[in-house]
Symmetry: C2
Subunit: 301 residues, 2 copies
């Protein structure tokens, strides 16, 4: 991999601050400069100390960077790119961590003509947000998807790939449109469903909010975790990946109608068959190290 001496991270929330912490821990020779548009976040980052330097000015922040990673909500990528453009080295690689990739690739390409942009998406996170929520091991054993534009030089792709591997991630490469469909199914639709049901429960007048909370251990509480994720980040994801999200939602709605009909008709055989098939998916996820085998996610009992 290309030797990286200086990485700049723009956006110091959960993901950006986790990258900075992971670089400090795993790539101690690399200098990390951080920038965030919010002065409060910059102040917190200075106190927490996960960057070598926190710069107030975005263009100054990227002046020495071999690699710049934009870790802002996908709806803010274009503005962040415009802000850093005057300071970028001609040979810098620009990457990002956005959860949708087609729109981000277009936005960065337009904002940074002539620069090498290699988008990426680490499939990792928690329901918490902000610079204090990050931690160095967030990416260990998780997948990072790199979506190089057509004709991207191998050296640039290898640099981004090597960077994420150095942080402990496993890297897969695919085109941006396929990424957006895969993530619509594995991440965006699950978040949409979770946000929906938590809203439904909180507005359902036959059950008090206090009852919803008290009896949430019956299953509901699982959904509240991802429905506690950052509202702005997720607003932007749904707006940016609209078509793929609506397509997966259409499939979900068809399946839900099938099960609704089975319940209405009392078709126990169809229900049992469906519920038996879904059990196998969980087993595969555990076997492949993508979740903990401990019951109930390892919650304390």
């Amino acid at each position: 991999m290309m030797a990286l001496a200086h990485v700049t991270i723009v956006g110091l929330g959960l993901i950006g601050s986790s990258i900075a912490r992971a670089v400090q821990e795993r790539l101690p020779d690399v200098t990390v400069t951080g920038h965030d548009a919010s002065s409060e976040v910059r102040a917190a980052a200075r106190t927490l100390g996960f960057c070598d330097v926190v710069a107030d000015d975005p263009a100054a922040a990227v002046a020495k960077a071999d690699l710049v990673i934009l870790a802002v909500p996908v709806g803010r990528m274009a503005d962040a790119a415009v802000a850093i453009a005057p300071g970028l080295r001609a040979d810098a690689i620009i990457s990002d961590v956005g959860s949708s990739k087609r729109g981000v690739a277009d936005a960065l390409g337009q904002a940074l003509p002539g620069h090498l942009v290699i988008p990426a998406h680490p499939v990792a996170g928690t329901e918490n947000s902000g610079p204090a929520a990050g931690f160095a091991t967030l990416f260990e054993g998780r997948w990072c998807i790199v979506t190089p534009p057509a004709g991207a030089p191998d050296e640039g792709v290898a640099a981004v790939t090597g960077f994420w591997q150095a942080l402990g991630a496993k890297v897969e490469t695919m085109d941006a449109a396929h990424h957006d469909m895969v993530l619509a199914m594995t991440s965006h639709l699950p978040h949409l469903i979770a946000y929906t049901i938590v809203g439904t429960a909180s507005e359902f007048e036959e059950v008090t909010e206090s009852e919803v909370i008290k009896y949430s251990a019956g299953g509901f509480r699982d959904f509240t975790r991802i429905a506690a994720s950052d509202p702005v980040m997720w607003r932007d994801v749904f707006l940016a990946n609209r078509d793929a999200v609506l397509e997966t939602l259409q499939r979900f709605n068809e399946d839900l109608t099938v099960l609704q009909q089975a319940i209405r008709r009392g078709d126990g055989a169809k229900l049992e068959d469906w519920f038996t098939r879904t059990r196998a998916i969980r087993r595969s996820i555990i076997e492949q190290g993508q979740d903990d085998a401990a019951p109930d996610f390892g919650r304390k009992h």
Copy 2:
């Protein structure tokens, strides 16, 4: 509370075996007899040793019991009650652990005329099933809902309440119809949604099953846990609590349509507002001790 000397548990899966283990640990003076219709489960229970006696015959199993707890899928409650009826003491209290209560109350009332039936539902569990999956602390800090029939003697209600409190649970009393609506919202609908989306993802031809599994950490894996729950138990829950489940599903579908339209129209303000409200529910659940505050359910990173 009425002194209990002998408790019989019929059905030695996750819940039944957890009750037995909790009694051994917290009520060492109480004798526990267990029975299961499956000879394999009885053999496993004998090996695991969580009952004082494992009886082959259901009527013999209950002969000495002050309290009998039926811990079988709700569709099997009637058969289990018929099987124990010849052996029951006239003054025994019969209870259960079923996830729906109106249907179970009717079934037990019909199968056991003249006996005191006090249904209950401990809102606790994991995605695992079978006698090896149980553990003594499953009910600690969780709620158990008792749904006494009209005119039930206070002493009987107090006995069941006291029993669950002795196992570490907190007890609430409500009528069976309200229970069924509350649990439809907090448990049955979440399971139905999780089963649906896991099925949708596994059949979606634009994304391979291998991709679904690899990138499941983006949110999907959370749903696979409850979609790995016991298929027969859940088939029975949906059949038994059909009306309440369909009502909550109707509300969910309305809300999902609202969010779908917001995505299609690019209405970011509506999405952000919705996602901000749902965040508050998670906070309340954690504040009230119904889930772990650790990010990502405390999964290892």
